[in-house]
Symmetry: C2
Subunit: 515 residues, 2 copies
Amino acid sequence: MMQKKRFVRTVCVDTPSLTDNTADDQRLEKSLMDELGGEEIRVPLHVLKHLPSNLRLWAFQARAVLFKDRYSWILVDLLDPLSATPVLGVAIDIGTTRIVISLMDLESGQEIGEKGFDNPQAVIGPDVLARIHYSHKHNGLAELNHLVIEAVSQHMAALCKAHGYRKQDIYLVTAAGNTAMTHLFLGIEAFEMIKEPYIPCVNIPDTQLARNLNLDINENGVVFLFPNIGSYFGGDLIAGILYSDLDRKKDPCILVDVGTNAEIVVGNQDWLIACAGAAGPALEGGVSKMGMTAKPGVIDRVWIDPESGDLAIHTLDGEKPIGICGSGMIDLAASLFLSKRIDIRGKFSKPACKNRLLEQDGIMSFILVDETHSATGEPICLSQVDLNSLTSSKAAMYTILEVIVKNTAGLDFGDLHTFYVAGTFGSFINPVSAISIGMLPDIPLETFEVLENSSLGGAKVLLNTPGAFERIMKIRQSITYIELNVNQEFMNMFSGAKFYPHTDASRFPSLKHQP
Amino acid sequence: MMQKKRFVRTVCVDTPSLTDNTADDQRLEKSLMDELGGEEIRVPLHVLKHLPSNLRLWAFQARAVLFKDRYSWILVDLLDPLSATPVLGVAIDIGTTRIVISLMDLESGQEIGEKGFDNPQAVIGPDVLARIHYSHKHNGLAELNHLVIEAVSQHMAALCKAHGYRKQDIYLVTAAGNTAMTHLFLGIEAFEMIKEPYIPCVNIPDTQLARNLNLDINENGVVFLFPNIGSYFGGDLIAGILYSDLDRKKDPCILVDVGTNAEIVVGNQDWLIACAGAAGPALEGGVSKMGMTAKPGVIDRVWIDPESGDLAIHTLDGEKPIGICGSGMIDLAASLFLSKRIDIRGKFSKPACKNRLLEQDGIMSFILVDETHSATGEPICLSQVDLNSLTSSKAAMYTILEVIVKNTAGLDFGDLHTFYVAGTFGSFINPVSAISIGMLPDIPLETFEVLENSSLGGAKVLLNTPGAFERIMKIRQSITYIELNVNQEFMNMFSGAKFYPHTDASRFPSLKHQP
């Protein structure tokens, strides 16, 4: 079986003679070009410095650590072919809220371990907007950059240590984040992104030396950040497309990534249409801000108990409930709607809710868990305000899906071969509930596929696949990015989608079979 | 008149709008590509970091400091288009004995000043061989590298200061040296160059960041070292060819560069044939080691006084004589031969020399200046040993010229349109004397052209000519490098050339008219 070609290769260099007395450097370049199919490659100064004695010590063989970017192959380092020095890579998902790093063996392609931690920039501001504003202050950009770089460096070192490696064993880092996170990671001004006409500084960042970014890995290591398409369409989604193989599908598929922001791509091997969360106030801070972050005691699932008809809950780690997260809220809304406790307009029905409704300052709240069963001593409620926000969010999601799939791509939802749900949203959401409230289209359940962290997944693919860079550039080029036009037509569609499941209930035939 | 295109250009960047919202980076790349005729260019991280605010502050104009190397254009830095910040470059001739630096204004192309100083590596060893041996010792390479880098940095700073500039104003350094000096300047192992099969580490060094070489100029400045062809054919000669325009001549010309080493190129726009001082013991340490370094009191010219028939001398700065340099020795040998004080075998003639001959330990010496007229209190003599060495050198030079021009290129000396003499040898030598002793061929005097420091000249050309890099690569590729084969035929030719002017005196018809 042919070994899959990765970024670590062993090359044989022609031995010199009086009739072949070209420079060692050219000798090495030739063997690398032979290995890489004739493509040009530069030999960096640190490799050159001791190339003559190394080549002779290693009997004219060498282990080359390579990378490939926009313009050419890069020789990251040259190692003893017989030494057992590990050659590791790290894939990073630079989430606005949470960062996840994965340590990989670049020779075997195996994952060694994974580690998630909160993005320390959150102390400056919870969202992209707050951080970009802060970055404009004196020293703000450097401070934000330092926070993320320090945290990533420390967690990489800890992850290495936990698995018996050294941080110097890391030669390659691939990272994907939204456009703002990418800029802040590189220490590049991001301020123009949030002002009309919303210009990012860079769309395709070149490969950087880790030491130029102060990232503490091997001193010759390099770092590549996934390119973005615009201010609102980041490298994280490009990574997601790479991970989902959307760009290689015969039949049209859709990828929905809702993390801090919401991004959607529909397409196949021939075309890709994307839109991102710049859909105006409807979606911004909508889906993404629903509920609390997952942690022990958080209600992540809600359902109607078939016997009692009452609502049942599940908490993370089975602890006493402390609150409710996004997926729990979608489940809750679905359960409330299916049990007719909320009506098609998304308003609480007093007769159906009975004594579970509480009125405070003129606002109704549904008591999911009373104070005696809650870990906080306070009841866990869903207020009409929360519900309205959820209604707007689900309507926005459905409308955007409709605009991109129907109005833009000219397809029906039924034409979608696979519906990939990625991001924190995708990891926990129950499609049945999302369909019940009219957030996701009513297509067969087997169409839905959860990708979990597709951004990290794409970064991992790149670490192990020299051909991935070309795919990334091809993805960038084949994407048609549409700015959602929040015009009268959109608002009409949005208004219809604010009903449960929709003003046009015929779009959700499966709901008829629900109790 | 069209302004000559240099490495500093002012570019206009398209202003962004809602309909043209690509990244600032791509905007800049586009304007640079337009300026550079469509060639790719990378924008470095330090330029990216504050690109958005700079572009807006500068009304979307910028002064770009560029360079071009083997693979692509390089954006060195981006400056305020309205600021008066000078943009300087430094050309360096890294001689084994002496280093010369020239400070240039990259916008006007004018030279600001020049400065020469001894290569501080001389404290380690006087010649290439001694230094390469030393470089193999523990820390030897780093020490040699540090010596030259420190000295160049200091002298660049001093040269800037002397002319009212700051070292940070230097963005570009081009340097040419022999292959060993090039390696030591870059801190690259050179040891394999002096062992069979004589392999240099690198032939075409990539452009380096000055800070990676610890060269103290602008923090974003870059350094380019002229490529060499092999261990014995360095970038200094490539620079010389560039400076002489040999690669653009219609008729064949020859370039002879004798510094510490001797290198010869013959050719025109269609072909170039080169050989270098690896001609074995005959030339090595021959011409190059003759006499002392030029300084006040050194005899640089000797001639026969037409009235007295005695020898007349000229010293540098007119001071009392302290010794004799290479050009003075060639003049002296010519004068001694023409006045029959030495015979055609290169031996002192006792009858002709009269009381000017001194015998010590069985070795005859010709007293050029007696102790009463010498600054040292010792007579200044030319011993038979010195003369034999000179004889070998001149024979080697003539033989090599004959081999390359006649045997290799298939030309007669008379076919040469121009005979460029470069290097320390060329700067001072009197062609009449060199012809008289049979060192240079007997061709019309107007054929000879002195280029002085052609290595520095080539480095200066590159600083001001973006197209020069392509010429450099073309020169490298069109050169046929011949290893001088010191076989029986060569030795026969060499033996004939050891006579004064030659065993075949018909080759030097002009000597018949001499007294």
